[in-house]
């Protein structure tokens, strides 16, 4: 059995683009109940957006936002 036979195909995955808003991507993570999203640019995978990456970003920068 090969990876292609058991993988989750692209059509069934929610994807984001590198220029997409991170807050919308976080909404998508929450809506789908997933921990990561593939980041695609012209059909090529350029990265992974993981929930923990967003949390790290928030931990670093949240205090700097003027509430």
């Amino acid at each position: 059995m090969t990876a292609a036979e058991i993988m989750t195909p692209l059509e069934r995955l929610a994807c984001v683009a590198p220029e997409d808003d991170a807050s919308e991507a976080l909404d998508e993570l929450a809506r789908r109940g997933v921990n990561q999203l593939p980041v695609l640019e012209g059909g090529r995978l350029v990265g992974l957006l993981r929930r923990e990456d967003v949390l790290k970003w928030l931990a670093l920068y949240e205090g700097t936002v003027d509430a």
Partner: protein, 134 residues
Amino acid sequence: MRKATRWASYGGQAFAWLLIGTGVLMLFSLRLPLLGGGLFGGLWLMLIGWFLNNAALVSYRQLLVKQTLEEVPVGRIMQKQVARVDPDLSVARLVEEHMMGSGQRVLPVERAGRFLGWYPSPTCRSRSGARGTG
């Protein structure tokens, strides 16, 4: 919109503290029309106030998160170093050589630079009971 949410949250918190304060006074024999008074009524009002305050704080926290992430492109946050596998790779090798070593919970499957999908499959997810791999 942002300001409105913030003020709605402040309003919710103020109302919640008003309920808690009134509940405390009711504990000390304050009697109010409709609400009455006494230990049970006071504690009940304090509990409602506490719930309201929590809800207002959570909505305010969500606003802060949204505000922090607004206009931050995904490309700045994402993980750029991603292990990938060929679609023809056997599952045994995929798990042993890539899944165990990379520390990634998902392994993108690519052919000639084109993203096709990723491992694990939804079936693997439901069998393991784990959520959120895809």
